[in-house]
Symmetry: C2
Subunit: 244 residues, 2 copies
Amino acid sequence: MTNPTSGHTVESFNEEMRREHRTVLQMGALVRHQIRNAAKTLRDEDPEAARKVIADDLEVNALDIQVAAHVEAILARRTPVASDLREVLTVAKIATDLERCGDEAGKLAKLTIHFFDSPAIAPNYQLLQEVSKVAGFVDLMLQESLDAFDARNIDSACEVIRTAESLDGEFRSALRRLMTFVLEDARSIGQFVDVVLAIRALERIGGHAKNIAGYVVYLVTGRDVRHEDLAAIERDLKITDSIS
Amino acid sequence: MTNPTSGHTVESFNEEMRREHRTVLQMGALVRHQIRNAAKTLRDEDPEAARKVIADDLEVNALDIQVAAHVEAILARRTPVASDLREVLTVAKIATDLERCGDEAGKLAKLTIHFFDSPAIAPNYQLLQEVSKVAGFVDLMLQESLDAFDARNIDSACEVIRTAESLDGEFRSALRRLMTFVLEDARSIGQFVDVVLAIRALERIGGHAKNIAGYVVYLVTGRDVRHEDLAAIERDLKITDSIS
């Protein structure tokens, strides 16, 4: 409650926060759209569509600026405390992470441009297969983290954190497979580098989904779990559960 | 001013903010220490020291948690507005970016481990030269962004943003040089990938330095310049200067 003596102020705060909550979910939908579209431009071998995906980032950036400005105004005018304050801070943090996901999606779109916009040599399609796989994987992670935020669901948030912990291993396996392809055809080294960097960008999106899941735990419990491992988080949440 | 009717509150706010300001600079010093130490472990071929650099990240993480908790407490108790509020939010944002720089420095330390901890093949020293160069470059950028924050100096902040705009080009040139080395010795493809990822991690530190410089412009002017290019920022700042 921002001010328990004034029902009007409380109502206005809730209304303003509902609006920011919706904006953040809208940003999330846009970013997921960017990721899936970027992956599609790669399958369709369509550099023109890839340029559009990069341009779409302006919309995400504009929403990011808007959320930051609203958050500042809400903090100044409503002076929220406790769980209300956490809600405001969480919205600001999620918007920042989503904005960076948009940048990473742009890097995936650049891969399409590098591969199919007047390529110097024939595209190595084996390399591209790995990218599609990882794109689908992190898009799902991002969806799950945003759903967890929308429903304030800690179990789902922990599930995202669990998935994220296996992400580095997945990335390393993909790299090993990619290396065998480039050893078979050394001329594709430039394409190989582009693919490695695109997969790294996608891995970063998975990292942002993990951050968002961490914020959900903070939002609901007040606990900052960003630097803890999942076992510690779940153990403590269970203890809290059994006490309450 | 948090509350112009109470000198005591204003004084306490300023005191608390001085403390957070110092903590953020301390975090910055630690992270720069990590970057330089990680680069040194590579020159010294010392995987043991590299493990220590990775362990040092715990200290940075602890400071990050501390700043976030203090920021939340200051917002709840002091309810700052206007430039005071911007100061609180800036400190929180810089701490988040510095914490991520610490993670990236850890990736550089991992390169030392991959190269020199029971390596499968002889290290390709040509590949490593590029890493040292980029490490020195982004360490300097980070220092300049932190100095700009400490002095609230917009000109220095713009200089960091200018440097950051050339960073992608530098990265691409380094990649091209690295590719020629791996073409001469295809067996070093695994080392090549590790180096590419380490340089990408360093480039991310440069990106965080740019973010910090952007927050300095926001802190001083109230303007959110994260998604603007430098020419637009400088033009508008000049116009503001000549009016005031």
